[in-house]
């Protein structure tokens, strides 16, 4: 294998980008687990839904061909702002994130209200099976109502919403605009969430609920509100990862959530499920390990190496890298 510093760096950047996506999705698993001790198997489908909603938003706001179709002419002035240059593009992406995050966030709240809350005092397997049911429902809904085909994440004429070509080259290392965008956005979102949970009043309520739900309720914390909030934030972050995934890799499909879902869940377990910083650490670690395994061993070994890391972590630190808090609970 050819080895050079620039090659190592480029594969590491690929890995950090992938890790950023994993971390965003892993937060959704870990938030819900931390509060409800439940694995939300429908989370990977919310990631998928985020990809589709984001594509719809990008098409409505940033595809001139859509504005030309009958009855959609009112979009033209809005689009002219979003297509007006760098500021417009940044606003376009931000708008896609906000729309996708809000829509999917409310989907998460809705799912919790109708599929999980009625089962909150049932045996632990019941909500798990309900989650699998929601997951199958969402996949089939996308298959039937949207398309069975793999859809390109681009305008009707085939051009990307964000020019994804190499942005600049430092010492032979190519970095694309999309990679910078993903890494920066995921780090900012993770920092904001961390501050939110550790510094604000409602964040403290979340931590209290996570430690002891009944006691928190007795102290005047509105448990249902805290849980609903967790089911809004997690899916919203997953949806943003879904939009990124579409823009970065170039397509969406109804069953696209499955593999990233499993990987992100793995990342959450590596970091210590229930621990926010652990999910971020696990996500980045898994992304970098996968990328380097693919780059230095073989593409066929990337999943093997990723899961070897999981096994090693579970052998030497069963609670995950940062996961002491969980050990008491189980």
């Amino acid at each position: 294998m050819t080895f050079s510093m620039s090659y190592l760096l480029e594969q590491t950047i690929n890995g950090i980008t992938l890790g950023g996506l994993y971390a965003l999705v892993a937060l959704g698993y870990t938030l819900v687990y931390g509060i409800l001790l439940m694995i939300n198997f429908a989370h990977s489908e919310l990631f998928m839904a985020g990809g589709y909603v984001g594509l719809g938003a990008l098409k409505l706001l940033g595809d001139p061909a859509v504005a030309k179709t009958a009855g959609m002419g009112f979009l033209a002035p809005i689009q002219s702002f979003f297509l007006s240059g760098t500021v417009g593009y940044i606003c376009l992406i931000a708008a896609a994130f906000v729309i996708s995050g809000i829509v999917v966030g409310f989907m998460g709240v809705f799912i919790e209200r109708f599929a999980y809350r009625p089962l909150r005092h049932a045996p632990r397997l019941a909500p798990l099976i309900s989650a699998i049911g929601v997951s199958i429902f969402l996949q089939n809904a996308a298959l039937l109502w949207i398309s069975s085909k793999q859809l390109p994440y681009s305008r009707v004429d085939g051009t990307s919403f964000v020019p994804a070509k190499t942005a600049f080259t430092v010492a032979g290392v190519n970095i694309s605009t999309m990679q910078i965008l993903i890494i920066v956005t995921s780090l900012v979102l993770l920092a904001v969430l961390d501050t939110f949970v550790s510094k604000t009043r409602i964040g403290r309520a979340m931590r209290a609920t996570s430690q002891d739900r009944d006691a928190a309720g007795l102290m005047g914390v509105d448990i249902n509100r805290v849980i609903a909030l967790a089911f809004f934030i997690g899916p919203a972050l997953g949806a943003i990862a879904g939009v990124f995934n579409g823009m970065y890799y170039g397509s969406v499909k109804y069953n696209m959530g499955f593999i990233p879902g499993i990987k992100s869940f793995t990342a959450a377990v590596i970091g210590g499920i229930g621990n926010l910083r652990g999910a971020m650490l696990g996500g980045f670690l898994l992304g970098i390990v996968e990328s380097l395994a693919s780059g230095f061993l073989s593409n066929a070994y990337r999943d093997v190496v990723a899961f070897i890391v999981l096994v090693l972590v579970l052998i030497f630190r069963p609670g995950g890298l940062l996961g002491e808090a969980v050990a008491e609970k189980v």
Binding site: N14, P152, T159, N174, G250
Partner: protein, 402 residues
């Protein structure tokens, strides 16, 4: 007592429902000839992915076969024999298990003597054995896996050429015509993709080219970023991909976006407009693929076929296998005619008739839309033409410069 009665009714209703299903599923129209004598209805099954899988190609198979049957029914030859041909569709969804169910359904239809299908080699591997037991002829327009004609199934024929012809032809083009010297070979870990990529790599090296690396991916993969960085470090001038358009298009897109500006080449699995749509026309420009046979428009009977197609299916585009399905259906129709002439029309749908139809196919020899249609001892076509296509600046596949 009452319980038992209810149970009897339930089972009776179930039996009736099953019978009704069979009748509506397989039954068909019986026509009469001009003379008033009862015509013999002979059925041809069309086994194709219609609701799931490579639907764009499967719908083309249905179009091609139905066109051939319609033309045959209008011909004096069929009318004089007192035969009415009809088709019945079986949706295999590109899935071997579903394909097996379709095959069972087809073989249990007494008037069904031949099947035009299937698209996927994996589906045929299951279905062909069921047809063999039921003495049903199978002619595939699209199976390219090499081993299908080496399974000892005397009822199986195909009008398209195979991967051991397609792979080397593509490698010859890449090395000799396109002048590519260093390649990276990727496949999607399916029997189709791996087989094709192996054949390509072998011939490329035999020509004197260098295969700088070989990697496997999954057939549903979307992330090729790390792979692209690895390929880039090898300094290659072409990437060969054995697989289908869904993942192949994303590999091409991520190659071009990751600064690896060399063409991606693939087989007939990427020969579809969806490839260009998914990759984006600007990224796909210059990508190459091979497909079996020659472009329909250049064939002696091509213009005639295109005109008939446009008249029958206004507004629809000819996909990769329409013409092959038309030819494959005609292989079955010609065998039916030969047997009807020899044994009489009423004997065609008997077991002896079905066996005679299978026995009649090896002597097939006619000028089809895809070229001369005849078979070797294994049931493979003798027409081994391959065409190389390239994505042009206009964002469509067009025959590449020779």
């Amino acid at each position: 007592m009452g319980m038992r009665k209810i149970r009897t009714y339930v089972s009776l209703i179930a039996v009736l429902a099953a019978v009704a299903l069979v009748v509506t599923g397989c039954g068909g129209t019986t026509g009469t000839t001009d003379g008033g004598a009862k015509a013999v209805t002979v059925t041809i099954g069309i086994g194709a992915p219609i609701s799931d899988g490579a639907v764009a190609l499967g719908k083309g198979m249905v179009r091609g076969a139905n066109l051939a049957v319609k033309q045959a029914n209008e011909s004096a030859e069929i009318k004089d024999l007192g035969i009415v041909l009809q088709t019945v569709e079986g949706d295999d969804k590109g899935d071997p298990t579903t394909g097996g169910n379709v095959a069972t359904q087809f073989t249990s239809n007494p008037s069904l003597v031949g099947v035009m299908g299937h698209l996927n080699s994996g589906v045929t591997r299951v279905a062909v054995k069921i047809y063999n037991q039921g003495n049903v002829l199978q002619v595939s327009p699209a199976n390219t896996a090499v081993d299908l004609t080496q399974m000892g199934m005397k009822n199986y024929f195909r009008v398209c050429t195979i991967d051991s012809v397609q792979g080397p032809a593509a490698a010859d083009y890449a090395f000799k015509v396109a002048g590519k010297k260093v390649a990276f070979v990727v496949d999607d870990s399916t029997p189709y993709g791996t087989g094709l990529a192996d054949e390509w790599a072998k011939q490329f090296e035999a020509n004197g080219g260098k295969v700088a690396g070989r990697e496997k991916t999954g057939d549903k993969d979307t992330d090729f970023k790390a792979l692209v960085t690895a390929i880039k470090s090898k300094g290659v001038d072409i990437v060969y991909y054995g697989g289908i358009y869904n993942s192949g298009a994303l590999l091409s897109k991520q190659m071009k976006e990751g600064g690896l500006a060399v063409p991606l080449m693939g087989g007939d699995g990427i020969f579809d407009g969806e490839f260009i749509k998914l990759a984006g026309a600007a990224n796909a420009a210059g990508d190459l693929c091979t497909s079996i046979g020659l472009p329909t428009a250049e064939m002696p009977k091509g213009q005639e076929f295109i005109a008939a197609f446009k008249a029958e299916y206004p507004g629809e585009e000819i996909a990769a296998y329409d013409a092959y399905s038309y030819d494959a259906a005609n292989v079955i129709i010609k065998a039916i005619i030969a047997v009807a002439k020899e044994m009489g029309a009423d004997k065609v749908t008997t077991t002896e008739g079905k066996k005679a139809i299978i026995a009649a196919v090896p002597s097939t020899d006619f000028e089809g839309v895809s070229g001369k249609v005849s078979f070797d001892a294994n049931g493979d076509t003798t027409n081994k033409a391959i065409t190389v296509y390239a994505v042009g600046a206009d964002g469509t596949w067009a025959p590449a410069a020779k």
